[in-house]
Symmetry: C2
Subunit: 247 residues, 2 copies
């Protein structure tokens, strides 16, 4: 008969309104919101409350706050970092384990490779090739950090070449978590990676989707094995724990 009362915080209501305007397309990337003091008047709240809302939206990547004379709150569409840190949080909490990560990485990488075979433009392929060259050069120069960075970038480029931004975001998320492992364990030697990359590039150029998927799957698994060995950490296959209902 009667429903429980739920009051909404002022800042949340502001967040909702701004999100709504974005969803409707009334606010597009690059647009600038009125100054905080003006927004406070418009919404009929204090400036602190407005700030809480703006800061939260900035934190999720929806806004960029710039100080100074021509500053203000600008609409950005750089929300990928929020998704990435969301996955990182899930990992930190143990909701996602290394085994889930490995499985997802394999899935995303093979799918990216398959789709990239169908859709990669010449420019994409050139970028991928250049990235491999960078890794070679960095390895030759002994710059391990740069080499590792190039190897991670390769996955990102491959995902972009797939034409599906969702895969690119997921690749970022997975890489973001895996970077911790890479920092701790170092990267596998180039002699383990580079031949695979060469073969993969050949598959991409030949538009051989299954070959490309197989190739990157092998390589991802090899890197997994390397981490496992280096860290002595057990990255066992997914094993479902007992669940709420029952086994």
């Amino acid at each position: 008969m009667f429903a429980p009362i739920e009051t909404q915080r002022a800042a949340d209501a502001i967040i909702e309104q701004i999100r709504g305007q974005v969803a409707e397309g009334a606010l597009v990337p690059g647009d600038r919101l009125p100054p905080e003091r003006e927004l406070a008047q418009t919404f009929g709240v204090s400036r602190n409350t407005v700030r809480e809302a703006l800061r939260s939206l900035e934190n999720t990547g929806l806004l960029t706050l710039k100080k100074g004379a021509a500053g203000g709150a600008f609409i950005a569409n750089d929300v990928a970092p929020a998704i990435v840190s969301g996955f990182q949080d899930l990992f930190a909490f143990g909701v996602i384990g290394p085994e889930h990560l490995a499985e997802a990485r394999l899935l995303v990488a093979t799918t990216s490779a398959r789709l990239a075979c169908e859709r990669a433009s010449d420019a994409d392929l050139a970028e991928l090739a250049a990235c491999v060259d960078d890794a070679v050069a960095a390895g030759a120069a002994g710059d391990m950090a740069a080499r590792s960075e190039a190897n991670l970038r390769f996955h990102r480029l491959l995902a972009e070449a797939s034409g599906n931004p969702i895969l690119a975001v997921l690749t970022d998320a997975i890489t973001g978590i895996n970077r911790g492992f890479a920092d701790a364990a170092g990267s596998p030697p180039n002699r383990q990676i580079l031949p695979s990359r060469k073969r993969l590039m050949a598959c991409l150029l030949a538009r051989d989707a299954e070959g490309a998927a197989r190739e990157i799957a092998e390589q991802v698994k090899a890197v997994e094995r390397f981490y496992m060995k280096e860290l002595g950490r057990e990255r066992r296959p997914v094993q479902k724990p007992a669940r709420k209902g029952a086994g």
Copy 2:
């Protein structure tokens, strides 16, 4: 020679510290942070600054703020909603299009089905079966909203049964965006969905991974076609636009 100066905002530094404690495992879900007033003293900043940090973390799902005597800031691990809304933002900005969504949905659903065949517990299968029954009952009762909800829940349960939480989160994200379509177009009739569900359940019980994947793929595609027809919206296959480098 000299590097540009970058000052970090106080609130961001606080966010970093709290995130760090969570990542280290020093803070686990359920833990309670000191009151805002105390944190302000500890960090040597004003209470408003502390609040900005706490509010941002609450907004990402890392914290839950409870008011009242035994209230405070509690560590939560409910970050999935943040990931979901992140994807919704990407969709609102047009970074992700319906065609990307359809592709991802197909991928996630088929993968979930395959893995669920290997790993689903009896309890999982029972829940899935019960969910199908719910959809039947809701359909018979003419409660379209409940039926639609049950059908979406089926995907969620299937992803959970896969044993990989990443798939569950992605399912939530995709569902979150798709819900908009479902609200606008209504759901496909049960006669289109239910036979497929029955066949899928049979595959799951028989641990027939390929059959299950094929079955849900067909069904997802059928739903896509339904939306396309109902909304007159063109959900065309992924077609890469001209890119930065060149075509």
